[in-house]
């Protein structure tokens, strides 16, 4: 099912709202050649997340759980800040975040041997944060398929070793929701906005006491509605340009297939930018075969790979 959804996404090409200034950026596949590849995206609109059972000693009781749940709801519900009442959005999102049972496994990253056991974990690190990263408030680690850009796993770690997370409106230290909403943007495949939009929730900077990023700025809302528009395929643009967040489609083999589809379309529009691309089912089959072949090769590697490297931690 997911594969089918993915194929539709690939075939969809790109959609954008012309004429709207954009600062958001899609996170993309890092290639060894230094050229960025496909943008990262979930290929399902229903996304699971898991809270680590132990929580954090920074926050009494289990109150942090509700804050994290509410942080997901900000993206699903396009909750805008008071200073962004009308963003001129032309579509909604249809993301649904589903919480699974609390986890006692603090594994971050992808489970190579049992992918089904992989959890999208949110975890507080009350101790043991790497000293070279003491200034890092939180980290989101995203695992993906390098060919399609499909996100396979995303985990968020909060640096409660160094920072004192708070949830109240007064005596704010490092506001948890302010941090979590930003990290969930990464979880969804967004990178940092350009520095020209410092008030966007996906802006890179944060300071202690800040709470204005508990919800979304127009740019964040524009980003998520571009990537995950309601009742439509994921948004991409080819060629990737800043006006559409550099949200590149899957890798060149697939892209070329899409271009050929476009050449056969009635409009014949190949002019770049972010135009929706018509697809013929015959070409979809070609794309499916391409992806299946690559996926099969990767799975073969899984079965032949050695045991994990013997590193002590």
């Amino acid at each position: 099912m997911l594969r089918s959804v993915g194929l539709l996404l690939v075939a969809a090409g790109c959609m954008a709202t012309p004429g709207v200034a954009r600062a958001f950026n899609c996170a993309r596949v890092n290639t060894t050649s230094g050229v960025e590849g496909a943008s990262l995206a979930w290929f399902s609109r229903t996304i699971a997340f898991t809270l680590f059972a132990a929580g954090t000693e920074d926050i009494p009781g289990d109150a942090e759980r509700d804050v994290l749940r509410a942080s997901f709801a900000v993206w699903a519900g396009l909750e805008l800040g008071a200073d962004a009442p009308d963003c001129g959005l032309t579509t909604d999102v249809d993301l649904a975040f589903v919480e699974t049972a609390l986890s006692t496994t603090d594994r971050v990253g992808y489970d190579y041997f049992d992918p089904a056991a992989t959890e999208n974990l949110l975890i507080f690190r009350d101790s043991g944060w790497n000293s070279a990263e003491n200034n890092v408030i939180a980290l989101t680690t995203t695992t993906y398929d390098p060919v399609s850009g499909e996100i396979l796993d995303a985990d968020i770690e909060f640096n409660s070793t160094v920072f004192d997370f708070t949830i109240a409106d007064d005596d704010v230290s490092m506001d948890l929701k302010n941090t979590a909403v930003h990290e969930i943007g990464h979880f969804l495949g967004l990178a940092h906005t350009s520095s020209a939009f410092p008030r966007a929730t996906m802006a890179a900077r944060a300071v202690p006491g800040e709470t204005e990023k508990r919800d979304l700025a127009c740019d964040d809302a524009g980003a998520v509605t571009f990537k995950y528009p309601a009742d439509a395929e994921n948004g991409y643009c080819s060629p990737p340009t800043p006006s559409c967040g550099n949200c590149a489609p899957p890798d060149s083999a697939t892209t070329e297939a899409i271009v050929r589809i476009s050449a056969q379309s009635a409009s014949g529009d190949l002019g770049g930018g972010c135009n929706a691309v018509a697809a013929s089912w015959s070409m979809l089959v070609v794309v499916a075969l391409l992806l299946r072949r690559r996926r099969s090769a990767r799975q073969a590697l899984f079965t032949e790979q050695a045991m994990p490297a013997n590193w002590s931690r």
């Binding site: 996170a27 596949v29 890092n30 060894t32 230094g34 990262l40 594994r107 971050v108 990253g109 992808y110 489970d111 190579y112 992989t118 790497n130 000293s131 070279a132 990263e133 003491n134 200034n135 890092v136 408030i137 939180a138 980290l139 989101t140 680690t141 995203t142 695992t143 993906y144 398929d145 390098p146 396979l152 796993d153 941090t179 930003h182 990290e183 990464h186 990178a191 940092h192 350009s194 520095s195 802006a203 890179a204 900077r205 944060a206 300071v207 202690p208 690559r294 090769a297 990767r298 590697l301 899984f302 790979q305 994990p308 490297a309 590193w311 002590s312 931690r313």
Partner: protein, 158 residues
């Protein structure tokens, strides 16, 4: 194109500040907290994984040591993310050091990973570029000798 046209004017370009969510770190703090500050050239990367995490090890051929053991001729740095067995991983805000990069790195040694890590992810890695290559966001531009002089001054400061 990295080929320089005529005079090679070097610009030092800081990465976009901020990590996945991080406090800005001053140059003073970078210099103070680094165990090793080197200027060098990045070699090819080799990704590996530890459990579910992927890292990439890069050998940096040292041009100069600005802080730390001046005998260092090459340094092994470890970055989060990479691709192993057809699975990719990234951490937004991690330093990006690519093969062939002329770079200045503020590093601390990580015993667990047996290599150096840039301090504060991307904030501890600077790329030296010629003026014709503007792939990275240009947030700060100074000439390399001035930057070196400034960092060495900070290192010497009590």
């Amino acid at each position: 194109m990295k080929t320089c046209l005529g005079v090679a004017l070097l610009l030092l370009l800081a990465r976009p500040v901020g990590a996945t969510r991080a406090l800005p770190v001053s140059l003073e703090a970078l210099a103070r907290n680094a165990e090793l500050v080197v200027e060098g050239d990045a070699g090819p990367g080799q990704s590996f994984r530890i459990d579910g995490r992927i890292f990439t090890r890069i050998e940096v051929r040292v041009r100069g040591v600005w802080k730390g053991d001046e005998r260092a001729r090459s340094v092994s740095i470890i970055l989060r993310g990479g691709i192993v067995d057809g699975i990719g991983q990234r951490v937004d805000g991690e330093a990006v050091v690519e093969e062939g990069d002329h770079t200045v790195l503020f590093l601390r040694y990580d015993d667990d990973l047996a290599g150096y890590r840039p301090i504060a992810l991307e904030q501890g890695a600077f790329r030296v570029r010629d003026r014709g290559d503007l792939r990275a966001a240009r947030l700060e531009a100074v000439d390399l000798p001035s930057f070196e002089s400034r960092v060495r001054g900070l290192v010497r400061a009590p």
